[in-house]
């Protein structure tokens, strides 16, 4: 149709689509799914890191971690707000998370088992997230693009803090270095999986790329992440978590072993180490908090009514 052609022309010309503009239903639905999933990831992502807040080893580390988790909740807020411009409410999105209709990033279904994991999450997980997100600053949907610009700035700060935390571990006592290695070994493949399945198995991609909702392919970004991270591992003097990692001079990239994709699909299906506990924690927070939300709402109504009466 003309509308569709005009829409695609705008995108091709790098003109942002804004909430009041016409857009194809599929574009809207895909964006809601992608932004919702991203928002949910920020929310669920509080849990593995929150798991160590009560055990943070110094006041400074505790403060840094609290600030980081607070930022993540804030990112959740931006993204839900951006998604709301597409005509879906935060509560609707939340309920879809809680009953399993919507997903969140699978990385948060892995446990944090030692303090170095907190560093590794910042370094690897935020690192991978940024690699996914930086291109999205140029995404076609205006509110999403602007949210990503804000988020990317904070995320790269988190990544540096994470790298600093794990460097301290890698350069620390024997036990600390062992923690750092253990964290790297456990989180390496799950981080690679964050870029999604191999391009040949990835659905939705072609259309999303045309719409500039997705900018690079999964495998491109994954390679970029490996190329960036391997020298850091070497700098930290940690063992490479994959014997298959070697510099391929011909390609100008590191070769690496593909993640175990059947594990990836297991986790997506709900069989990750923490899927059940993560969703249970979020559901409990929501259910236990119902009286609070109701109470505050009732109070707001009373106040509004009193104000009306006074006018």
């Amino acid at each position: 149709s003309d509308q569709e052609r005009e829409f695609q022309d705008k995108i091709d010309a790098d003109i942002k689509i804004e909430p009041r503009d016409w857009m194809p239903d599929d574009y809207r639905a895909t964006l809601i799914r992608q932004m919702g999933q991203h928002a949910h990831s920020e929310i669920v992502g509080q849990l593995p890191e929150g798991n160590w807040i009560t055990r943070a080893p110094t006041l400074e580390r505790k403060a840094i971690l609290l600030a980081k988790v607070q930022d993540e909740a804030g990112h959740g807020l931006y993204l839900y707000s951006a998604a709301e411009t597409l005509g879906v409410t935060r509560d609707e999105l939340t309920e879809m998370l809680l009953d399993g209709r919507m997903k969140y990033s699978s990385i948060f279904n892995y446990p944090t088992l030692n303090w170095a994991d907190i560093g590794a999450v910042g370094w690897l997980v935020d690192g991978a997230a940024i690699m996914n997100q930086v291109p999205l600053q140029r995404t076609s949907y205006g509110p999403y693009s602007r949210a990503m610009i804000r988020i990317c700035k904070e995320e790269s700060f988190h990544q540096r803090q994470g790298y600093d935390a794990i460097r301290k571990m890698a350069e620390g006592t024997v036990a600390q270095k062992k923690m750092a290695q253990d964290a790297l070994n456990r989180l390496w493949y799950p981080s690679l999986m964050m870029f999604g399945p191999s391009d040949k198995d990835s659905v939705h991609s072609a259309q999303s790329m045309a719409w500039k909702i997705k900018i690079n392919t999964n495998d491109e970004l994954r390679q970029k992440f490996v190329d960036q991270t391997v020298p850091q591992i070497e700098y930290l003097d940690l063992d490479l978590p994959d014997e298959g990692i070697t510099w391929n001079a011909q390609r100008g990239h590191y070769d690496y072993t593909d993640p175990n994709w059947s594990e990836f699909f297991d986790v997506i299906k709900g069989n990750g180490p923490c899927n059940v506990d993560r969703l249970a924690a979020r559901n409990k927070a929501w259910d236990d908090g119902a009286w609070v939300r109701d109470g505050l709402m009732a109070n707001a109504r009373k106040k509004a009514a009193a104000k009306m009466a006074a006018e």
């Binding site: 080893p57 609290l66 607070q70 109470g295």
Partner: protein
Amino acid sequence: MSAVDQQALFQFLLRMGDNTLVLGHRVSEWCGHAPVLEEDIALANTALDLIGQTQFWLGLAGEVEGKGQDADALAFRRDVWDFRNFLICEMPNGDFGQTLMRQFLFDAWASVTLAHLQTSSDERVAGIAAKASKEVAYHLERSADTVVGLGDGTEESHKRMQAALEYLWPYVGEMFVSDDVDTAMVAAGIAPDPASLRAEYDAIITRVLTQATLDIPQSAFAHKGGRDGSIHTEHLGHLLTSMQWLQRVYPDASW
């Protein structure tokens, strides 16, 4: 100051710092589990401020003690009997209402106390108080609003807030009991006499709790012991098992 006063000052600073440390820890337990996203953010922010204040208070405590202990050593290497926080700070979170009521009852005390401490004869104390005051003013505004919102909300939220107030009320009195340490602080012009702050405190909480349609309990009974360490609740020991875990297991590490 005399050696005795230095020892009293050390105790006074531990009291200030242990309050914020233990309460900050409790608040941080909420992370990721609050009833609504805005509250997750607010609770993390409160915890963060309290931990920040702890760094100042315990940092200064360590200096005054002069035995080479920094804030981390004091926070992570003392056992229950050496803690000097109000018992109310170590009380469990309970539901969100209990957490916010605890916060409100503490914030009101902190705002009154810090206002006085800004004119402390010890410039370091006055400086910390000035910085913390701004944060606490915001905490108090927020916790008071929430107590009002939930107290005068639904029937259920009212009932829960009243229950929280009754549960926590016996822990308020400890904030206003004076002892030798306080006498020394008053004499040195460092800090006000806690007993003298009760009227200001009561004015704040009466205003807010009335607006929240909550009944202030009549009982004057007060649990004591946290502030001088003579007794704590069983809760503190469990809190320390998490809080101090890494420092205790890996004493040679730096983080």
